[in-house]
């Protein structure tokens, strides 16, 4: 009898490490490339996020030029050009040709991109669907050369492959321009790129954007302020926010030689005493070498952290847009009769500081009979998909908008001529998935959102009350005018006097009665 190979041995032959790129290929929906329409949006979005973050870091007012060209047969060429600080030559291949390479993943900072997976994923998507490499031009200083690259990604090894590189002439002092050809579908309106850019312009009033769409229409989004957002401060993670896996990684990577030192220097708000208390609670010797902490001990540490009282993280690392700039952004892009905004004080979830802001626009050109338009943002990035899964939507639905003058059915968004903006700024925004489309339902976050909504809601209610009252008075005046006509006719018939004169006299009395209204400009001065 032939001896059978053990199953495990057989399986072992099939087991091998999977490259990140291969993983992406199979899971591209997680990163926002589920379909051609979304792929186009995600590509532009990742490029613009990078441009805006880079400009802000370099304290440059961003001028961004976006062009989308329809190449036919479902292919589009996307060009995004910025006036940012540029990228040094050696880094260009890694940034655009390698997944999970970047500076943001290791930092806790209020920036748009968080995982460093975005732009190279877009490049890879283009490469996979069209075979075309990504091209990059970048220049870091006026007297330095501009570098041109054509890159492909080795999807097995997650390494960049340089197809072409050369020095080119570029009239810009500094900046980066990328071009990706990808299989895509262009659609105007909801969840499309036009909507994305419009919303981006609202929450980034310091941005000057020129956009040429596939229909060759050139749209310009002017800058509403020269004030750059405050530079976000980088903070160390707070112990409450760290997950076990990350804690284990941090233990391996730390430069500290003792556990106590590690806790003190790699986290914020941890004093020597607090570090000691954590070690004692976990039953781990505080002088242990962090790299030698076993998994069980790490787990004990993790549990001990939750039990030790640690003061909340500093909140100055979170940079809101600000009430005034939210108003400017809304006024710039939405024609309405009334605007209001609120920036809440910082708050903390799981050791991560965050700030909720809300803005509201009412009336004007906004459709009256539809459900309100809800604009969701996380660190100034519009969230266009998975609305129903998002904590912001949940908070809006569970707010009693009837109290604020809008109609609302149970479990639904309110109805009325309203654009509602909600922005969450945080060093670490908790998304429900890697495609960063919906905010996770943390009770602390929902509570803050609701408080912000109630604030703008109250402001709206007071406006509506005033507005509606003026409207009602206007209607009453109109009615009184009609009654005057009737009365004049009856009195004229009985007395044989001139009807028009009686009516005009009555109207004088009626107008005096509504003098207040007239003062408010509710009655057209020419009206008889």
């Amino acid at each position: 009898m032939k001896k059978e190979e053990p199953i495990a041995e057989r399986l072992a032959k099939e087991q091998r490490s999977i490259s990140i790129s291969e993983f992406f290929l199979k899971n591209k929906h997680l990163l926002g490339f589920d379909n051609p329409r979304k792929a186009l949006l995600t590509t532009i979005k990742e490029a613009i996020d990078n441009s805006l973050d880079a400009c802000e870091e370099a304290r440059v007012l961003p001028d961004i030029i976006v062009e989308v060209i329809d190449l036919g047969v479902d292919r589009f060429e996307v060009t995004v050009e910025d006036n940012g600080p540029g990228i040094v030559k050696q880094q260009i291949p890694n940034i655009f040709g390698k997944l999970l390479y970047g500076s943001k993943f290791h930092k806790l900072k209020c920036s748009r991109g968080q995982q460093g997976i975005g732009i190279s994923a877009a490049a890879m998507y283009g490469q996979l669907t069209t075979g075309k490499p990504i091209t990059i031009v970048s220049k870091i200083q006026k007297d330095k050369p501009a570098h041109f690259y054509e890159l492909q990604i080795d999807t097995k090894r997650n390494e960049p492959q340089i197809i072409a590189e050369q020095i080119v002439e570029w009239e810009k002092d500094h900046g980066t321009k990328i071009k990706i050809v990808l299989e895509a579908k262009y659609q105007k309106g909801k969840q499309g790129i036009d909507e994305y850019l419009e919303q981006t312009a609202i929450v980034n009033p310091h941005l000057y954007l020129i956009y040429t769409n596939p229909e060759k229409q050139r749209l310009e989004f002017p800058r509403a302020t020269k004030e750059l957002p405050k530079e976000p401060k980088e903070i160390k993670p707070h112990p409450y926010g760290v997950e076990l896996g990350i804690l284990i990684n941090m233990l391996q990577d730390t430069k500290s030689s003792t556990l106590q030192g590690f806790l003190q220097s790699d986290f914020c708000r941890v004093s020597a005493n607090v570090a000691k208390e954590i070690c004692d609670k976990a039953g781990v010797y505080e002088k242990s070498r962090p790299s030698r902490i076993a998994k069980q001990e790490a787990e004990n540490l993790y549990k001990a952290i939750q039990e030790v009282k640690i003061i909340a993280p500093p909140t100055d690392s979170v940079t809101p847009i600000g009430e005034e700039l939210i108003l400017k952004g809304l006024k710039k892009e939405i024609k309405a009769d009334f605007y209001a905004s609120i920036t809440r004080s910082p708050s903390v979830y799981r050791g991560n500081p965050f700030i909720v802001e809300a803005g509201i626009a009412y009336g004007g050109d906004i459709p009256k009979e539809d459900t309100i338009k809800l604009l969701r943002f996380a660190n100034r990035v519009p969230l266009q998909y998975q609305q129903s899964a998002c904590a912001i939507t949940k908070s809006v639905i569970s707010t009693a908008w009837r109290n604020y003058g809008l109609s609302q059915s149970k479990g639904a968004l309110p109805i009325g001529p309203v654009v509602l903006l909600v922005h969450i700024a945080s060093v670490w925004v908790p998304f429900t998935s890697e495609s960063k489309e919906a905010i996770a339902h943390y009770p602390e976050i929902i509570k803050e959102i609701k408080l912000a909504l109630q604030d703008v809601g109250r402001k709206l209610a007071s406006y509506i009350r005033k507005h509606v009252r003026a409207n009602e008075q206007r209607q009453k005046f109109d009615l009184l005018k009609s009654y005057s006509e009737e009365l004049a006719s009856s009195v004229a018939s009985i007395t044989g006097k001139d009807k028009d004169k009686i009516f005009n006299d009555l109207l004088k009395g009626a107008e005096r009665l509504y003098k207040d209204l007239k003062d408010n400009g509710m009655i057209d001065k020419n009206e008889k």
Binding site: S482, Y483, S484, E486, L487, I494
Partner: protein
């Protein structure tokens, strides 16, 4: 007593002119056009102990065009006044409902009608009646007529001689205006008038020729009697010197109908002097009749909460303060029962005509 104005001698046409001129004057001076009118309703009536009737008090309310809650009513008042003046000029009398239709239209520039329904126009005409201190017939407006009469009496109606002994089963239908320029009394043998709440019961009496056997007049007002019926009762009572007996259901509505016949109504308190019959006698049904006539308990209706509420309200009216009435009403509350006239049929169909009413009259078994 009615608050006679100095111009009460003038014709209604002149009064309307005067009212409109006053308002015109206010309009020209840019004042708030205002009309003072006697207040109709419970807050402006009192019980005249001497005459035993409900009278209208002196309270007035003003109706102003520039008071938003009153604008429409003010406009409607003059809409009605204008039409009434037209009627006077043309010398035609129309039903009150026709005034409603004649003046109903969409107000220009609005989606509103001048009147939503007749229940809006009728009170405005009544307001005008008291404001102009005019009789309904002087306004050339007729109420809907209901009610019928037969009996040992001959009348002259608009010049036609009518023998009320020969009116068949339906009887003579009572018009809304019964003043002596229209209705005159001729030969009369009757010795009393029997007022019956409902037309169905009245028909029973007429079928049995009750009036012939008992030498009387029988009359009904189809529930709450309209002005014509009340005015006619009063005239027959005064001019033919006939006592009036009233037969109604034993419930608070029946009792109130009796009260209206006897003392007048709150709404038309200004007409009590011409309409009420203070000596009208209440034959029944009394709340004590159920036990007295040993009626089977299956014929009774239980008082509902709304009935009880209304009973308590009526008990508080000054004209029901008399002990005998309090006793009657309290007993109704106590047994918690109401009885319809038809319930007497439980005895037999002719019980009411052959036994109940004749016995009560003979035995003077009534309240007054």
């Amino acid at each position: 007593m009615k608050n006679k104005k100095e111009d009460s001698g003038k014709s209604v046409d002149e009064k309307i002119n005067k009212l409109a001129k006053e308002v015109l004057n206010q309009i020209e001076k840019n004042n708030n056009p205002t009309v003072d009118m006697p207040l109709r309703g419970i807050t402006n009536v009192y019980f005249d102990e001497k005459n035993k009737i409900i009278q209208m008090g002196n309270k007035t309310s003003s109706r102003s065009f520039f008071n938003l809650g009153q604008s429409k009513k003010f406009m409607q008042t003059f809409l009605a006044a204008k039409v009434i003046q037209d009627l006077i000029k043309q010398n035609i009398t129309v039903p009150i409902r026709s005034i409603y239709y004649n003046t109903k239209h969409t107000i220009e520039g609005t989606k509103e009608e001048t009147w939503n329904d007749q229940s809006e126009s009728d009170p405005i005409i009544e307001d005008l009646e008291v404001t102009l201190d005019a009789l309904r017939e002087e306004l050339h407006v007729r109420a809907g007529s209901k009610g019928a009469m037969v009996g040992n009496l001959t009348i002259i109606d608009s010049g036609d001689k009518i023998d009320l002994r020969k009116m068949g089963s339906g009887g003579w239908s009572i018009p809304s205006i019964v003043e002596n320029n229209i209705i005159k009394f001729d030969k009369c043998e009757a010795t009393y008038i029997l007022f019956i709440e409902k037309d169905t019961i009245w028909s029973r009496f007429n079928e049995d020729k009750f009036w012939r056997k008992n030498n009387c007049i029988i009359i009904h007002g189809g529930g709450q009697p309209p002005r014509g019926v009340r005015r006619l009762l009063r005239r027959m009572h005064d001019e033919l010197k006939l006592p009036v007996y009233v037969v109604v259901d034993s419930d608070i509505y029946g009792l109130y109908i009796y009260s209206v016949v006897k003392q007048g109504s709150i709404n038309l308190a200004f007409e009590s002097m011409r309409m009420a019959v203070p000596k009208a006698r209440f034959l029944g049904l009394s709340s004590f009749d159920f036990e007295k006539y040993k009626l089977p308990s299956s014929v009774i209706l239980r008082l509902k909460e709304v009935d009880k509420k209304r009973i308590k309200e009526v008990m508080g009216y000054p004209w029901f303060k008399d002990n005998k009435w309090q006793k009657e009403i309290k007993h109704m509350l106590k047994i918690g029962v109401k009885l319809e006239l038809e319930a007497l049929s439980a005895k037999n169909f002719k019980f009411i005509t052959e036994k109940y009413v004749p016995d009560k009259i003979r035995n003077k078994d009534y309240l007054d």
